[in-house]
């Protein structure tokens, strides 16, 4: 495909959701009114996200796979000369998979909401917010200017806040506040770091800065910049101990909110590390890498210990909360991979990013479905004395849940395996100058984390999917549980199948993804040329 066509494709991918968001607030034109205004606007959401997905697949198809290290589909026009801010868009092997993942997950969420709109105010605002959210996330992965990156990074906050606060479950207002305040606190610090880099480096252009590879920034500047930018990104990622907004937000958010939060919003943090911190301030990154790795390792252990505790009998653990904490652990692997500063580790991190998006997205969908059926996601209430016996009552749902859990614990052959394996492999032989014994310790901790993850995931499977015959052990609190819960419905199949298929595909054919990221990562670590 010609460069101009790709250029327009990428621009359209970022702008189309915004246009769609505005359009969804207007009354439907005649001919598209549908059965009711609610249905029409939800359908509008599906159409727009579907179009964006189609465009991003076209972009992926037109992408020159022989040179994924090169920025493609680039647009570079001046926007605010006073601040030297340019509208600079482009994709390479690092951002393309994330772009497609975002478009896919948002489409699936829109599709799911079309049939199962979360309880709350009008769907009009819901669709508009979802589309703004999509635009902001896609822009984060597509822009190549530090200020635009910040703008896109902030753009997702308001829609996500309202999605949680308006359509969420119990404790939603507080959770939404916590989410937005934490992220804002981090991002203001990040803004200072980005400005410092921009002023000292003489440009806000990420490609130019990556090519300089920190040569224009003094060591002190790099240290401050990495600390400031890293803090903002670490809140988003989230890195232990800055993660405490995450469990509440995930638990309170509506199903699609949790899916997008875990599936794509967290990736904005780790993407920022790879795209900005590593190439722009390599000295600073080098200094702070061991600390990042240490926090990541603690996060892995901490996340899995909390999950183990939540999965315990009588702990009143919430299933959504458990998946949220498991995200802390999984993102720990991603951060560990990045902290090794080796191509292996960073590739693993990017792979784990995508895998986590697919698997945790699927898990949140499934838990949401369980919650809809039983009216609760409390593990004790669900499983009663012996277990919820989902295998017996709703075999397909139970099977999918088991599949998600097993993929999440990193079974070889599924997507979760490669990223974590590569991240640990990177930690086995970290970049020159990093303390090898320290990283070996972190690797050992991460290995222990995988064991713990396997433990709690299997406990969850046992308690939710297996159990007695269902007759005498039926949960007391479940009002509608007199009859067996409905098994997977067709729209649920439609929303979940792509995630399952991609999880298997990425597990069996990791080269498809690694072939894209590896050349780009090599280049970023080398200094952008």
């Amino acid at each position: 495909m010609s460069h101009t066509a790709l250029q327009y494709l990428l621009a359209a991918i970022v702008v189309l959701p915004l246009v769609g968001a505005v359009a969804s607030l207007l009354p439907a034109p005649p001919g598209l009114k549908g059965k009711s205004p609610e249905q029409a606007v939800l359908r509008h959401g599906v159409t727009v996200t579907g179009a964006v997905l189609a465009l991003s697949i076209a972009l992926a198809a037109g992408f020159d796979h022989d040179s994924p290290a090169r920025m493609q589909a680039t647009t570079d026009i001046s926007w605010i000369p006073a601040l030297n801010i340019r509208i600079h868009l482009g994709v390479d092997g690092v951002s393309l998979p994330l772009l497609v993942l975002t478009a896919l997950l948002t489409f699936l969420c829109a599709l799911y909401s079309y049939f199962k709109m979360p309880a709350g105010p009008s769907p009009k605002a819901f669709v508009a917010l979802l589309l703004v959210l999509e635009s902001g996330t896609l822009a984060t992965f597509a822009v190549l200017d530090l200020m635009l990156f910040f703008l896109a990074f902030e753009m997702v906050l308001i829609p996500m806040y309202f999605l949680i606060a308006r359509w969420g479950g119990e404790g939603r207002e507080r959770a939404a506040w916590r989410f937005i305040l934490y992220t804002l606190l981090g991002s203001v610090v990040m803004l200072l770091g980005l400005l410092l880099v921009g002023i000292k480096g003489g440009t806000f252009d990420m490609v130019a800065l990556a090519t300089d590879n920190g040569s224009k920034l003094s060591h002190t500047t790099q240290l401050i910049a990495v600390l400031a930018i890293g803090t903002g990104l670490a809140v988003k990622a989230p890195m232990w101990p800055l993660h405490s907004w995450l469990p509440d937000a995930h638990t309170a958010a509506p199903t699609v909110g949790s899916v997008l939060l875990a599936g794509v919003l967290l990736k904005m943090g780790t993407y920022g590390f790879v795209r900005i911190v590593l190439p722009v301030a390599p000295d600073g990154a080098h200094t702070f890498a061991p600390y990042l790795a240490a926090f990541a390792a603690v996060g892995i252990i901490y996340g899995s210990l909390v999950c183990l505790n939540l999965a315990r009998k009588g702990a009143k653990g919430d299933l959504k909360r458990l998946i949220a904490y498991s995200s802390v652990g999984h993102m720990g692997f991603v951060l560990l991979g990045i902290a090794t500063l080796t191509p292996t580790g960073v590739n693993g991190a990017l792979f784990a990013n995508i895998a986590h998006g697919l698997i945790t997205g699927l898990l949140f969908f499934l838990v949401g479905a369980v919650k809809d059926r039983y009216g609760t996601s409390d593990l004790d209430a669900l499983s009663g004395r012996t277990g919820a016996a989902l295998y017996g009552k709703a075999p397909r749902l139970g099977g999918l849940l088991a599949f998600g859990a097993i993929a999440s614990l990193g079974l070889p052959g599924l997507a979760g395996f490669w990223g974590e394996m590569l991240a640990m492999f990177g930690a086995f032989r970290p970049a020159d100058g990093l303390s090898r014994p320290a990283f070996l310790t972190f690797m050992a901790l991460a290995g222990l984390g995988t064991l713990l993850t396997a433990a709690y995931m299997l406990v969850v499977v046992r308690r939710v999917c297996m159990g007695g015959d269902g007759g005498s052990t039926r949960p007391q609190t479940a009002g509608t549980a007199q009859d067996a819960p409905a098994d997977v419905r067709s729209y649920e199949f439609a929303a979940w199948t792509p995630l399952v298929a991609l999880t298997v595909l990425a597990g069996l054919w990791p080269a498809a993804l690694l072939g894209l990221t590896d050349p780009a990562v090599q280049q970023l670590l080398r200094g952008g040329n």
Partner: protein, 501 residues
């Protein structure tokens, strides 16, 4: 020896002159108009402000000056200069006054304010404010400052029979008069030490003052600065702000929050950057500390406002305007450290333009809400989206602009220019203090924004009343300005990248 008779460039002085002339016309016309035709005065004032705004157009080159002393020194010392700085501030003042006038049209009628007096006072104050940025000598500066402030006292106290209104006016008057007295004392000291009132000449002569007059000169500089700091409502001279805003008629509070601030800042910029650059090592750190204290005091107080208290909306806007004043001080402080001070103050100008548009917009929506809920508590904004979706969206946009969060892109980038000025000048600590303040401010702005979209507590009984056309025009004008600036921030941010003075 040149001619002693000064020639007057009437075109250059048109913006303040037109405003002043229209003010007089309104005052006279008030005598002859029957009671029923009084609304005509408001329309006349709006037209006058538009005309004054149009008179900026022929001056766009920005190279005119008038009232010059010729032949006194090798350079011409002028009292009035229509350079780019002047034009931008005049645009801000006249545009702000225009929005205020639109806001006032319905308020004047609803609150039964005396029409003739109101419009005369508003226009007079605007004329003074438009004169101020052009003044290039201390006498003109002080006179312009007083022309801008004195009518404002009367405007604040215009709600006759309201105890709070007259109390507010008195508070405002006393604090402002103290500031003026201090400024005048400072100015006289400076004159005694340097023998001139022209800003550029002062800058030249302050460098080599007779050592015996050194203390006098220093005291003069310090007192002048204190006086202007007072006018900007910087800490510790900020206590009058909330009570005055609450007591004043709402459009007047809006006017004070934007044009009152702009006046103080313009004066401060002229005095520091043009007249006292040789004392930069003194005023720059002082202003930096003042900026940090002002923004912290304003934001913390705004944070502590309880939403269910009466008049909490205006009170919050008042405190937040104190906080915003702190941000506006940052580039002026940075100018003291920069090699090219004229460059740095561009950030203040750009920020002030953004702030003027969105803050007036927020006050306009507050005026709209005040029509149905005179208590104007923040809790009254619950369910505004359900009642008036467009007004709620506009209010959300204004608040997010003030907070500096997308979709308020202009607010974000205006803050970025201020941050850049601070980081550029090596004021890293000030940037960090400001970052913390931005977060505090985000908290209360966001909370208010969230309130707009929350469902109302009780079901709406009556259909919302029709919005008066001038009020909706004011909201629309502010919103369109904000949105246009968000799409093309370069429109105002270019002032941050060029030397204005």
């Amino acid at each position: 020896m040149g001619s002693l008779i000064q020639s007057v460039d009437w075109l250059a002085i048109a913006p303040p002159t037109v405003t002043a002339v229209v003010a007089l016309v309104v005052l006279v016309a008030d005598l002859f108009l029957p009671e029923g035709r009084k609304p005509l005065l408001g329309r006349l004032s709006v037209a006058g402000l538009l005309l004054a705004g149009l008179s900026l157009l022929p001056l766009l080159d920005g190279d005119r000056s008038t009232f010059c002393l010729t032949g006194v020194s090798d350079r011409d010392a002028c009292s009035y200069a229509a350079d780019h700085f002047t034009l931008v501030i005049q645009l801000l003042v006249l545009g702000g006054a225009l929005l205020t006038a639109l806001l006032s049209m319905s308020a004047v009628r609803d609150q039964r304010l005396p029409e003739g007096e109101f419009w005369f006072l508003l226009l007079s104050s605007a004329a003074g404010a438009a004169l101020l940025p052009a003044s290039r000598d201390l006498a003109t500066l002080v006179v312009a400052l007083e022309v801008a402030s004195l009518p404002a006292f009367a405007l604040v106290g215009l709600r006759r029979g309201e105890r709070r209104s007259s109390e507010a006016a008195l508070k405002f008057f006393l604090s402002s008069v103290t500031a003026t007295a201090v400024t005048l004392l400072g100015v006289s000291f400076v004159y005694a030490a340097t023998g001139t009132l022209h800003l550029t000449e002062i800058a030249e002569k302050l460098g080599h003052v007779d050592p015996r007059l050194g203390t006098l000169a220093q005291a003069g500089v310090a007192l002048t600065l204190v006086g202007f700091a007072f006018k900007t409502a910087a800490v510790p001279f900020h206590f009058w702000v909330p009570d005055t805003y609450v007591g004043a008629p709402l459009p007047v509070a809006a006017y004070l929050s934007v044009i009152g601030k702009a006046v103080g800042f313009t004066g401060l910029i002229l005095v520091t950057v043009v007249a006292f650059p040789s004392y930069a090592s003194v005023w720059a750190p002082a202003l930096a500390v003042l900026a940090a204290l002002t923004m912290t005091a304003g934001n913390v107080a705004a944070l502590r406002q309880r939403p269910e208290r009466a008049h909490s909306a205006v009170r919050l806007l008042a405190w937040s305007s104190v906080g915003q004043a702190g941000y506006l001080l940052v580039p002026i402080a940075a100018a003291g450290y920069a090699d090219d001070p004229a460059h740095a103050i561009g950030s203040t100008v750009a920020y002030a333009l953004m702030y003027a548009a969105v803050n007036l917009g927020a006050f306009a929506v507050a005026a709209l809400v005040a029509r149905t809920s005179p208590q104007n508590r923040i809790t009254d904004y619950r369910g505004l989206y359900a009642r008036r979706p467009l007004a709620a969206l506009a209010m959300g946009f204004f608040l997010l602009c003030l907070a500096g969060l997308p979709p308020g892109i202009i607010g974000l980038f205006a803050k970025v220019t201020v941050f850049t000025a601070a980081v550029d000048a090596g004021l890293g600590w000030l940037a960090i203090v400001m970052a913390l303040n931005v977060v505090i401010a985000l908290y209360y702005y966001l909370q208010w924004t969230a309130t707009l979209f929350r469902p109302a507590e009780e079901a709406e009984t009556a259909a919302p009343a029709r919005v008066p056309a001038p009020l909706s025009a004011a909201i629309a004008l502010a919103a369109v300005t904000g949105i246009a600036l968000s799409g093309a921030p370069q429109l105002v941010l270019r002032f941050a990248s060029q030397a204005l003075l």
